[in-house]
Structures are given as C-alpha cells and as structure tokens.
Amino acid sequence: MSTPGHTQGPASGDAAAAAPRAGYAIIEAIRRGEPVTGQTHEQVRDQPAVIRAADFSLWYGKSRALHAVSMPVPRHRVTALIGPSGCGKSTLIRCVNRMNDLVEGVRVSGRMELEGSDVYAPGTDVIGLRRRVGMVFQKPNPFPMSIFDNVVYPLRIHGQRSRSELAERAERALRGAALWDEVKDRLRQSALGLSGGQQQRLCIARAIAADPEVLLMDEPCSALDPVSTLRVEELIQRVSERYTVLIVTHNMQQASRVSHFTAFMYLGRLVEYGPTAEIFQNPRLPETEQYVSGRFG
C-alpha cells in the first residue's frame, strides 16, 4: 500500500505512515477535522440495548479522546471494541462505570445511558452504578488476601455478613468463573499464589459475585498465556448468557472468537459497528477492511 500507484485520488502528504491513504472517506474526513458518523449495521440497531452512548465525547484536559460516539450495546451479548492502540477503546468502556472520574481534568459531553438513564447525570449514585457494572482489568488485580476474601469482597462491602450466604455466593461465583474445582481446597490461601490465568478468572468471579448487569473487560487476556487465554475466552462466552459483556481486545482473532458484535474505532471515532462475522468477512467500509485484514494499526 505504500506504492503511489495504488492510491486513488490525491494523496494526502501528511498521512500518518501506519494509516491507509487516500480513498478512505472517513479517515479523510477525520483528517480534515470534519465530524464523522460511524456505520452502524441494522442488525445492531435491532437489538435491545442495555448501554447506549449518544453523541458521547470525552476530553482529557484539552485533548479530546472521544468524538461524538453513538453506540448501543446489546443485552446478553458479547460486544467487542477493536481498533489501533490509543483510539479510545479503554476510555470508552471506562465511561460506562465512570472509572474516568479518577483521572484529573476529564470532561464529557453527550449521553452515556445504562438502561435508559444517563450515568453522567448530576446526582448519579456512582457507587450504585459500579455495583451494576462490573469491570475486569488488563492486568489481573486480585487483592493481597485469601481467594475467598477476594470473591466475597463486593458482598462484604455491601454489608453482607452471613457466613453461609457468603460461602454460597463465593462458590456460585467461582463456579461461574470456572475456577471452583481448582481452588475449592485452598479458599483460605492467598490469591497471589494463583497462576496469572487463575488470577484473572478469580477477578472475573469477583466481578460477577455481586451479580452485575454488565461486565466490562479491558483486554482481559493480554497478560495471559495462550492456554489461559483460551479458558478465559470460553468463560466470556459462558457469562454472556447472564450478563451483557463489553470487551476491549487488541487481538482480532479473539474478537472473532468471543464476540457477537464488533465495533471498530479509530482516532476516537466509531467507524463501523455490526455483527462480528460481517465486520470480519464482509465489512462495508474500506477502512474496516484494511484494519481487520491487518494492514494497519
């Protein structure tokens, strides 16, 4: 793609080396600073949405990381966010549970709705929001306490004291995260003694212990070996029967393996969003085609 003969129309001289050149209407528009509307396939719009971003933008101080993103997230499905590094995937999912509040100088506009109500509305109960929206991080982050104490942490902070109730919910969550058989004999041992893959599944168990409605995952497998990755991927598919999953992944094979829908982001914009098979085999936009075939990003 670096040969000038392949480009159509005038080549934009300042094109970033990694990105496709002329002929890509959306990328050209982004370069010119014009607003772009992503292609969202009808199949996505037909789904009942749990989360819905509407014209949602975000600034870190003066620099804008999200540009008027509009995106519904279907209920009880796995939706993958893909796109080159730095395109705003993490930023977007961190808005759903308002983890971006921890960053100094963040400003948002537009709406980010959970079940129809704006999570950024004044007076929103952020703690209540985070109980409804679980999150799994890139690096497994079990607390330095026992496996059991990790899993029941969200229950304890919400005031659950009953030992039998805690034990029962811990078992259910660990079974749900396909970890029970491996840890049932050492629940009182430190969670830091688990392997990386086990730690990540423990974090998933911890996130689902409090029965959230939505599970956000930010590259949950990027720190894991292939075997653990496979197990976590199986797990993601399993939990989507009960939870709505929004997952960021850098790995396109992973997106095609685990997700029902895929959204392709670029430079803080939503570019194309549709059923995963469509996005990977039959994308509508040349930009998406370029990216999923691994030619840039």
Binding site: L102, I127, N141, F143, P154, I157, L194, C203
Partner: protein, 290 residues
C-alpha cells in the same frame, strides 16, 4: 607499561578494599566493645530485685540498698503505651491523608514539610516546648506531658513512613476496589491499609524504638519519680530519666544500678529492632508473587 598500570590499579583497589574492611572491622569492634562493656557492667548489677523493687531512697547502705528500677521499667512501658495511643493513630491518619487524599492539594506540601522538619527537631526542643506548654501551666511535671512529648516525636515519623508505604501499594488495587462499588474510605480501610500493614507497622516500631531511648524530652515533662503512681498528674518515672539520675550520682551503689538500667534499655531497643526485622522478612516473603 600496560601491565604496570594494571598492577597500580590493582594495588589501589586492594588498598581501598583493605581500608574499607578495616573501617568496618573498627566500627564493629567498637560497637561490640561497647555492648560487651554494657553487658559486663549491667549483668553484674542486674538481679531479680532490679525488676521487683523500687528505689529505697537510701543509697548509702549495702549494695542492695538503692533498690531496683521496677518503677522506671513500668514507667517507660506506660509512657510508650500512652504516647502510642495518641501518636500512632495521629501519624497513620496523617499518612493516609497525605497519600490518599491530599494529592496535589495546597495542604499537602506544607504538611509534608512540617512532618519532615518535626521528625528532625532535636528532642531537647520538644522537651522545652512540653515544659512551657504542658508543665508550667499545670504547675508540675506529669505523665501526660511526658507521653505527649513522645507522641509529638513519634507522629511525624509514622506519618511519613505510612505515606511512603501506602504509595507503594499498587493503584490497581484501588481501581479494582472502586470498580466493585467500594467507597474511597472502604477501599482504604479494607484494601490499601491491609496491603501496607507490615511495612506500616515497621514504621511504628521504629518510631517506638526512637522514643524509647529519649531522655531530654522526658526530663522536662514527666520529670522523674522514685515511685510509680496511678495518678498521671504527678511526676512520672522512666528508665532513661532514672539512668540519667543515677549515672551522675555520687553513690557507687546507684551508679551500679544505672548500668543495669542501661542494659535493660539496650535489650528493649534490640528486641524492637529484631521484631522489625522479623516483620519485614515475613512481609517480604508473603509479598513475593509467584
């Protein structure tokens, strides 16, 4: 030529190694000598009565006459306990504030600076201050003033070590807890502080070891006494003050007991330091991820 330069370098390097080895040996030797001397003088003077009897007030009689230092041992322990009751929570809360809440807020810089200055203030200054503020107004030496003076020395040390230790707790723990719907205070109490418990406790113990050996601040605040009384408004005994008192005494029998006091003091400090090492070693072993 090259070999000659090499050999010169070898000589220099060998000399440096020998020099530093000699210096280390000298320091260790002096230290060992001091310890041995204390042990020699102290063990001779120490006895069961040292721990079970108070001064008789009659230093002129036979060697047993001056009595022991039960009052001073108990006094030091009581002062440390009282000082900790105030200084430890104050120090830890300040450390939590500095690490978790202050951020870049305007109060943070001055607080840190004041803590650092206070941690380095000569203890005689603390003593004089305690005398002015806590002794003169009530008209006499008292245990409260002594405990307050020690707490005043402890708190800034604990505050700064706590802050440093909390800063070492990875932010991923905080983010994980907040993302589960925990409030900030729940996150601090249930995740951050426990994660730093070992090293924070180490800071507390080091502060304790520091004040356990303090004399100057006590001379002007708790004063000294030949008895330990439950009335904390009265002059209060302590090991260091009693040793100071006896060490300069004209009576050999009292100077003898002072050596026993020194030995007990050294043993106390050694115990605290060993406990710190054990604690550090254990937390390091536990924190080691697989």
């Amino acid at each position: 030529m090259a070999t000659q330069r090499l050999s010169i370098r070898r000589v220099i390097s060998a000399g440096a190694i020998a020099g530093s080895a000699a210096a280390s040996v000298a320091i260790v030797a002096v230290l060992a000598g001091v310890l041995w001397y204390i042990l020699w003088r102290g063990v001779g003077a120490i006895s069961w009565e040292f721990f079970t009897t108070d001064p008789t007030g009659d230093p002129t009689g036979d060697p047993a006459a001056p009595g022991g230092m039960r009052h001073a041992v108990l006094g030091t322990l009581a002062l440390l306990l009282m000082a900790s009751a105030v200084g430890v929570p104050m120090g830890i809360l300040t450390g939590v504030y500095l690490s978790e809440y202050a951020g870049e807020r305007w109060l943070a810089g001055p607080t840190r600076f004041v803590c650092d200055v206070l941690a380095g203030v000569p203890s005689i200054v603390v003593g004089i201050l305690g005398y002015e503020l806590l002794v003169v107004p009530v008209g006499g030496f008292n245990a409260y003033a002594g405990a307050a003076a020690l707490a005043f020395i402890m708190a800034p040390i604990i505050a700064r070590t706590t802050e440093e230790m909390l800063r070492l707790v990875p932010d991923s723990y905080r983010a994980g807890s907040l993302a589960l719907g925990a409030s900030k205070s729940q996150t601090i109490v249930r995740v951050v502080l426990p994660a730093a418990a070992g090293p924070t406790l180490t800071g507390v113990m080091l502060a304790l070891a520091r004040v356990a050996g303090e004399t100057a601040p006590l001379l002007f605040t708790a004063g000294g006494a030949r008895l330990i009384s439950a009335d904390l408004g009265q002059p209060f005994p302590s090991l260091t003050q009693q040793v100071f008192d006896y060490a300069t005494s004209p009576f050999p029998s009292q100077r003898e007991v002072a050596w026993a006091g020194v030995l007990v003091l050294i043993a106390l400090l050694l115990t605290i330091n060993l406990a710190v090492r054990l604690l550090l070693w254990r937390t390091r072993a536990r924190a080691k991820p697989r």
